[in-house]
Symmetry: C2
Subunit: 186 residues, 2 copies
């Protein structure tokens, strides 16, 4: 049964084609992904890039930990991904371990709050735009739980390093058991 796709679906296809040139690719923790030279990002359609080395799919979704106050601040400051001025991007797929997923909502929420995940991101708005894709609950088996896609200008590349560095030092990141970091330019 061929179905129409979720309108919030995005597919990241790594291979030899695509608008984004991969400038760095490294495993941060756990198993690496095969190296690729280019990345194609597609929206809403079934994933049919025949020459892809790998394809990662995820859907944007509702907030899981954001409070009303944070949501108001985010909506004032954040800009949508895809600004023409942004010639730098990062794709950071992560997976969290089973201990994380077995925690009740109140305890996951406390860890995210204690890790200052949302305030850290807010500090770099609007320079660094972010779009989060969820993959844990798609119908197909997926190697990661989340794909985060960022874009920014070359001038903000150092700020981006600060942002990911701060997150990786947090309590939340102790639950990350697979992470790959790709940096891109166009």
């Amino acid at each position: 049964m061929l179905r129409p796709m979720n309108s919030r679906l995005f597919t990241f296809s790594g291979g030899g084609v695509g608008e984004w040139l991969v400038t760095e690719q490294r495993p941060v923790v756990g198993e690496p992904l095969p190296l690729v030279s280019r990345l194609r990002v597609t929206s809403g359609e079934a994933s049919v890039v025949s020459d892809a080395v790998w394809q990662l799919c995820g859907v944007t979704s509702n907030q899981r930990y954001v409070t009303r106050a944070e949501q108001s601040e985010l909506s004032l400051k954040q800009q949508a991904i895809g600004r023409t001025s942004c010639n730098r991007a990062a794709l950071i797929p992560i997976r969290k371990n089973e201990s994380w997923w077995a925690l009740p909502q109140d305890e996951r929420n406390a860890i995210i709050a204690n890790s200052r995940h949302i305030p850290i991101g807010l500090r770099y708005l609007p320079a660094i735009a972010r779009r989060l894709h969820h993959c844990r609950d798609i119908a197909q088996a997926a190697p990661f739980d989340f794909l985060t896609w960022f874009d920014y200008t070359e001038a903000d590349a150092r700020a981006f390093e600060e942002l990911v560095g701060a997150l990786r030092e947090s309590e939340e990141w102790r639950f990350v058991d697979r992470e790959v970091d790709l940096r891109l330019a166009r």
Copy 2:
């Protein structure tokens, strides 16, 4: 690219075949589903029931609103779906409106708590077993956000009516814009 399926995927196929006989089917709010006489429930596999009138897929996932205290009580009392003594079941697919999904986590959490969703369910354990499947974030377009599957004995059929009646009177249910109710026997 043919992918293996999520191990938490379940597919409910309505049609003329399946282990469950549909004894009642009615739309509670919003558009109905085409009437079917039987239901087949499959796990983990791609949905390929060629004679199905409709197929609904969802994945079991982490808790979104449960506290540590509630989780402890649930794990003490709840039993897994599929008890051989249970010859009655219900499938209740629901969709929530865009206002619900736009709310931040703290406000959705407060509505669920105020609606006593989890305490109401706890009251009927272990008699009424429940398995929740999420469909909003699968890669394919899905007509519902959640599929809830219950099983119980004929002796607990009246208790089941009380349970769904209490939930439908809650503040949470004001956000439900599509709901279908199927009752089944085997």
